[in-house]
Structure formats: structure tokens, C-alpha cells
Symmetry: C2
Subunit: 219 residues, 2 copies
């Protein structure tokens, strides 16, 4: 009981800062997407490929959340895009306060689109609002087709689902039933578009980037 009460208190304090972040993003007319997935699903590779595709048309900034290291921010900066690295030092998710600092460091005026790459964790980040416009769930085919049923929260809350590493399906060494995943995702969230992509080969990335460009245009 004690745990639950305190948990609510922490979530409420986080929610207040998230609302402030949301106001800041609204004032700057910036779309902000919070990417959530297991470790190693390919979030950074998706970002790099998306930035390369859209960078002449959309002004993008990135906030990178990791427990340790700034490997991911370095990969983003190599594209010429601004990236703020936040190290959570053991914590399993980004907080609204950390993102608030990140938005300030990024200087969001003039940015059309801000990606937050959350800590690799399919569970905890989905419970912490950051003030984002929407969440993105990323699932790689090598993780298995039972994941939406086993980790429903993020799939229920996402504005879009990206199924990544579809190039691995061609090897015949991955058991992954795309239709089963689509059905499970639709049960949790009827409206969510589902994109099949390989950030590595580029397959499917055009369709995803077109959707994203339209979403940015609608803000």
C-alpha cells in the first residue's frame, strides 16, 4: 500500500513536468515522438535512416536516453543532427524532468520534429509520460511474435508500431508470424498504423517516412 501511494506521488510529479513539456512543444509547434522498445530492436538505426531520408525537408532533433554511454548520440550526430545524450545512471526509463532539460539543451525553436529515444525497456518507459505528442513502439522480428500479448501496455498506447529487421525473415531462420502480430496489435489499439521495415536495408522506410512527414505537416 505504501509502495502504491508513493508510486502515485512520483507519477503525479512526473505528470506535472510532462504537461509543461507539452506546452513548450506546442508553443514551438514541434512534433515529439517517444520511441520505446526492448534493447537492440534497432531504434537508433531507424532514427539514422529516417534522418537521412527527411533531413532536407524536416528539421529534426534527438534526445537519447541510455543508462550508460553516449554511443547512440554519437551515431545521430554523425548525420549532422543535434542530439542530447541523457544518462540515467541505472534508472530504467527517462523522466519528464530529464526530457525537460533535454528540450532546453536542444533549443527546440525551429525544430519540426523531436525524437526521444527512451532507455531500451519494453515495460517501464510506457508508464512515464514525457509530454510527447505520441509514443512509437518498435519490435524487431528476432524478438518473437508473442511480444504484443506479453507486453501489451506500450502496444496499446502507441501512435504507430514499427516492426523492424524484416530482412531477417528472408533467412528462413526466424519464426515470426506477421499476421499474428498485426492481429494482436489491432486488439490492443484498432487505429495504430503498423510499418514493416528494415532500417538496415531501407526496405519499408519510404512508407514510414511519408507517414511521418504528413504527421509533421499536420502540427
Amino acid at each position: 500500500m505504501y509502495k502504491v501511494r508513493v508510486g502515485k506521488k512520483i507519477l503525479r510529479a512526473n505528470e506535472e513536468i510532462a504537461q509543461e513539456n507539452s506546452r513548450l512543444l506546442g508553443d514551438a509547434k514541434s512534433l515529439c515522438l517517444n520511441m520505446i522498445s526492448s534493447p537492440g530492436s534497432g531504434k537508433t538505426t531507424i532514427l539514422v535512416r529516417t534522418i537521412e531520408t527527411l533531413k532536407d525537408k524536416v528539421k529534426i532533433g534527438v534526445i537519447e536516453g541510455d543508462i550508460q554511454t553516449d554511443l547512440d548520440a554519437e551515431r545521430i550526430r554523425a548525420t549532422g543532427t543535434a542530439a542530447i545524450q541523457i544518462n540515467t545512471e541505472g534508472a530504467c526509463h527517462l523522466s519528464a524532468a530529464q526530457v525537460h532539460q533535454g528540450l532546453s539543451d536542444l533549443d527546440i525553436e525551429g525544430l519540426d520534429l523531436i525524437f526521444i529515444e527512451n532507455v531500451g525497456n519494453l515495460v517501464c518507459p510506457s508508464a512515464f509520460e514525457l509530454g510527447e505528442t505520441g509514443k512509437l513502439a518498435v519490435l524487431s522480428v528476432s524478438e518473437g511474435d508473442d511480444k504484443p500479448a506479453k507486453y501489451p501496455a506500450i502496444f496499446a498506447k502507441s501512435k504507430a508500431v514499427l516492426i523492424n529487421k524484416i530482412d531477417l525473415l528472408e533467412t528462413g531462420q526466424i519464426d515470426f508470424d506477421i499476421e499474428k502480430v498485426k492481429t494482436e496489435c489491432r486488439k490492443l489499439n484498432k487505429e495504430t498504423p503498423i510499418f514493416l521495415v528494415s532500417a538496415k536495408t531501407g526496405e519499408g522506410m519510404d512508407q514510414w517516412c511519408r507517414w511521418l512527414e504528413e504527421l509533421v505537416g499536420s502540427v
Copy 2:
């Protein structure tokens, strides 16, 4: 500060139950291993293959931790091995109290080896002691070779590391430097044995099962 103090209180309460679990396991002369990994690294498939290899020599029981569903326990039971499913209903790790109930339901007297398959999460479960004899980290090659550096806690604490899905390396479509991972793991924990396995094809499983059998014999 409030958060940190309460966090410590929760961890201390958990630690006390973990010590009781450890006593129960000691009395029963049962070895208990707590498997921790990202979602979809292949923990359940490793368990099924390990049980099939050892079941005539080692009496095994399994406690399955999942947020939702009993898909994993069903897969274990199909081998004829007892499995207790614990659903955490949203929580990101198993607690010592949940494992205490699981050990009671399993009836551990007469079991040589108990596996705890924790919730798929490379972060939070490593902070919660369950009274286990040791932790096992599982990393699949499709998650990438930067994971020990990015998620060091579990690799530092593990009694052994299993690198799974090595059959995917043959496809040439996975960038994964085994030597880099070994070097990172050794930096975090000099003594940990590292097993390269494919639970799907069986490659490397003999060596892992021999090590496990010796460990069980040493209790």
C-alpha cells in the same frame, strides 16, 4: 530524496524475504538460477532445450515471471517439468515475495535445480535479489554487441553469460562481434564463463549443460 529513501525501504523489505528464500533453498539443497535478459532473447527456448538434455539426470523445476499470459509456463510443462507461472500484472520484475510463493507452490524438496525466468527486462530485475544462488544473463546476437557496455549491471552480477541465437551469425545479416562482447563482459566480471549457444539448433548447448550439471553436483 523521498524517492530514494522509499526505494531503499522497498529494497530492504525485498532483501529480507530473499534471505528467507535462500535459507529454504539451502535446506532443500537446491541450486536456483535467476535468468535475466531483454524480451525475446530466447530464455524459454534455452530452458526447454536444457530440460530435455538434463531431465534424466537432474530434477528441475521452473518459476516463470511474465507481465501477462502463461505462454512460457505452458511451453515448460510440455516437457513434463513442473512450472509455476507468476503474472506481475504490469510490474517490470519479479519480487522475492512472488518467488517465495512460487517456491512453496513448486514443492522444492527433491528438486536439484530451480530456474527462475524473470520478466523480459535487461534493467530492473538485476536490482531485486530473489534469494537465488546466482544470476544468468542471456543476450541474443540480434540485440547487438554494444549491450554489455550499455546495460552493465546484469553482466557484472552474473554467474554465467549465455550468448544465444548464434545460428543467425551464419546468415551474414547480423553485425555482432563476439570478441568485443567477451572483452566487455570480462571488464565487468573477470570470472564469468560465457557460453555461445543456439537453443534453436542445439549448437553449444552440450557445453552449457555440462557446466550446469557440474554446478548442480557442487551444491
